[in-house]
Subunit: 510 residues, 2 copies
């Protein structure tokens, strides 16, 4: 089956693009990545929000939809976050696991690096570890996403061949900045990156919400740049679990950074490039936890709405594009046939992981009897999470489940009429949202790499030139490529994702 | 959680709509409904087509994407085809099962009826039974979709209070036109609708492909209108199973009808409204058969491409919108984690139903031994359908499955990395495609009813007036509403779709 490859762009769209075709371009660009946010996630969260408010409103992002994105990686039809981030950042597809490198492990310049070299301000604001695949793909280079110590080293400028390319970073992942002698460290070396960043690269490294809050008050000249706000060792908390005295919301981090950049660049002809990620929509999808999923999606929507408001409110030189890297969890609503009850999700006040932890704590109390424990599990865990009148079978399943967290999520999902088909991602196209100058040019269907190319072009950046600089640096190319051990790492990662044996039959009717 | 309900339409889109805002409107409208075509179905078919042609092309419809549609019905968040067709046709949401009636069983005027009353030509071209929910929702009225005899009666004009409102219909479902004395009839009365249509309403009623082909040759004055081409008792064949000597493709039916309408209306100031449906994308989803699903999707794409070509080729006064009624089957690709192998689908030359039938026939041959049968099943059925080296377990499962057809589909799907989560529909928004005059005004996110309102407005039609006429007809209102038995019918249908008991716990870990 072969379709003609003629470019039958809808006449309407083509006409519009020409009619409104403007030569003016944005000074600033925001790329906002809702990780693991597939089309079903949007309907899912909208139906929940509308249940809560008893209406049939749109979500804020519904009003910004302009197209969709084709996300496959070079080695599989189902991408991971690393390959997708690299495609968005570098304008070129690569293999799953790759951070800012191509299929041959050669570094690719990113839009953020090109922006920095051209005098823009740059930022990474995320709710995962700041060293996680998505932010990493915008500012660092390594053959494998799990090398988060190396990624942290590059993020602060320590081992980045272009020097420091990031001005502001916010997110979790402090454990990758601590030497292994520190019991909270995730590193396997003695590098005290937190101190190096501060001492050698002038970073303000802080874990304190107060320091973050001060950003909103300081005058431009008072702002201690570069600025890293990394309150958590691991990821930031899910929105529904967040303690606001310790962590700002993603919306707060995004708007604070926008205001900061605005103050710092308003007298310059160069603006900023800001990468924002609602990282944990994805994590809740992997965990099959509808509670974490829905509340992080709603926070993504609040952040998008706040940014649109910010752009409309005197910042029309800023453009916003937003698209996920991939769907996560294989979410569908209507399982069994035609069932979908968002009200079931309106009981829980925390993610499944918190409830599972809470039970673990109770379970370890010395004087609790088995009866106490079962009662506690039923009433304080299942019931509190939204699983009304848990059956004996449902409760017993808790103790044999591989993961108590995932088990709780799946039981609640089944009650709500939600199904998760995989612990990984799925191949479905994701929706592209846009607001502001020239984003109408992105109406329609695009490869993820094309989205990155468009943004770089809009800022007048030469990403190819950054690639040239990076690839000319032989010792860097050497350092970020895999040795024999590294090739094994990648192979193992791919094998986890590889199921060619399916062809030979492994069907179990469920 | 409450979002501000401000209408934050993307500035770009709003600007464009104004910039290109034209007062000219289309003379003709085509609404093309790919039944059961969710976002994942599009990625699925594209990946398959690209596997076949070894490239990374877009599908034809990818190039026409302009937005998406929110599809919930008034009684559930997961719509059926009846409620969705009514929303598109009448501009108003209703309950699952409703055909052209509102929540109170009162008739709602449809865009097709309004077009007919205003002097337009009208057509229904589908691959399901012509009496099935989607075409029925555009031209008939009844409280329950399964009353297909009543729907047939209205389609030909026999019991329609507006008289005959359809000029051309093509599709399956002849059994509903035959009196119960005919062994091929699906009716429960003695009405010989086929003869009545011909004798009293001047329909050319034909089952012959030759008669269909003649439509392309005749002069306008020779065309024997109204014209019904209904070759099959039940649905038309799936595209991959189609015998072209008996049945034209959906593309052929669509283009032939367009040319016919074009010739008949070219000297009139009134054009036509044509409803086209790729009906069986949905049926294959219900059957979990990736083969029927992918080939009917590709045929939908060919038909869309041909229509766009037709519009571009001298028919710029015709506008096209296309959107599904809902997703079907809960399709996801990447199950287990990251597996998705479209090549597995490149073996079968028929749908699963045909292979299951084929085995049934062999199974009934008198002198075949058990060994013969198992060998035949493995080699001529499983292998031919694409299930290489079927395991003993896979083959044994065939005999205990509720449905051999669905079982085959599920085994093949598992080999390909595809999951189907439900035998019904799911809630995810569907994609809206458009081409031609003013369709850019539909960029963004819409309720299904808003799509119908837009089309009626574009043709300058007064659907509300048709509603008034219909509702003023008391005997008709009476006839199409439910009696006590009818209310039971609806209740039963809703119960099939109702799983409130989930709240009380029915989780089985799979």
């Amino acid at each position: 089956m072969k379709f003609s490859s003629s470019l039958l762009v809808a006449a309407s769209v083509a006409t519009l693009a020409t009619a409104a075709g403007s030569t003016s371009k944005p000074k600033n660009y925001i790329f906002f990545l809702p990780d693991g946010y597939g089309p079903a996630s949007e309907t899912f969260a909208r139906d929940f929000a509308n249940y809560k408010s008893n209406n049939t409103n749109m979500l804020p992002v519904d009003e910004l939809a302009i197209g969709y994105v084709r996300t496959f990686a070079t080695d599989t039809l189902v991408t991971d976050s690393a390959a997708a981030a690299t495609a968005y950042a570098c304008g070129k597809k690569t293999y799953n696991g790759a951070i800012g490198v191509d299929d041959n492990y050669k570094p690719l310049g990113t839009i953020l690096e090109a922006a920095k070299l051209d005098g823009f301000m740059t930022g990474l604001v995320v709710t995962s570890r700041i060293t996680h695949a998505s932010p990493a793909g915008f500012a660092t280079h390594t053959y494998f996403r799990d090398l988060e110590s190396d990624i942290a080293d590059q993020l602060v400028g320590y081992t980045h061949p272009l020097g420091r390319v990031v001005d502001v970073m916010m997110g979790g992942g402090r454990c990758f900045f601590l030497p292994q002698s520190d019991e909270e460290s995730c590193r396997e070396d003695d590098v005290d990156l937190w101190s190096i960043a501060h001492d050698k690269y002038n970073w303000t490294m802080t874990t304190e919400r107060e320091k973050f809050d001060e950003l909103d008050n300081g005058l431009a000249e008072d702002i201690p740049l570069p600025f890293a706000f990394i309150p958590n060792l691991d990821h930031m908390m899910y929105e529904v679990d967040r303690e606001s005295s310790l962590e700002p919301s993603l919306t707060e981090m995004a708007i604070t950074t926008l205001n900061l950049f605005d103050r710092l660049t308003k007298d310059s002809d160069k603006g900023f490039f800001l990468f924002i990620e609602a990282s944990r929509i994805d994590h809740a999808g992997h965990a099959h936890d509808p509670i974490g999923h829905v509340h992080d999606i709603l926070e993504y929507n609040r952040a998008m709405q706040a940014i649109v408001q910010w752009i409309n409110d005197g910042h029309s030189d800023t453009a916003l594009l937003s698209g996920a890297d991939h769907e996560c969890g294989g979410l569908t609503m209507g399982v069994p046939d035609y069932a979908w009850y968002p009200e079931v999700l309106d009981v829980a006040r925390n993610t499944a992981g918190i409830y599972a932890q809470q039970f673990e704590t109770f379970n370890e109390t010395a004087n609790a009897t088995e009866t106490d424990k079962m009662k506690y599990l039923k009433e304080q865990i299942f019931e509190a999470y939204g699983i009304k009148n848990a059956t004996k079978e449902e409760i017993e399943g808790y103790f044999t489940a591989d993961s108590a967290e995932i088990y709780l999520g799946e039981v609640l999902s089944a009650r709500a009429g939600i199904n998760w088909s995989t612990l990984g991602h799925t191949a479905v196209d994701i929706t592209l949202f846009g607001h502001g100058i020239n984003t109408h040019n992105m109406i329609g269907s695009w490869e993820n790499g094309e989205v990155g190319q468009f943004m770089a072009n809009q800022l007048g950046l030469n990403v190819a030139n950054v690639t040239k600089i990076l690839q000319a640096n032989e010792s860097f190319v050497q350092a970020i490529g895999p040795d024999a051990e590294g090739k094994k790492l990648i192979k193992r990662y791919r094998l986890q994702h590889d199921h060619e044996h399916l062809h030979e039959g492994a069907f179990h009717k469920h």
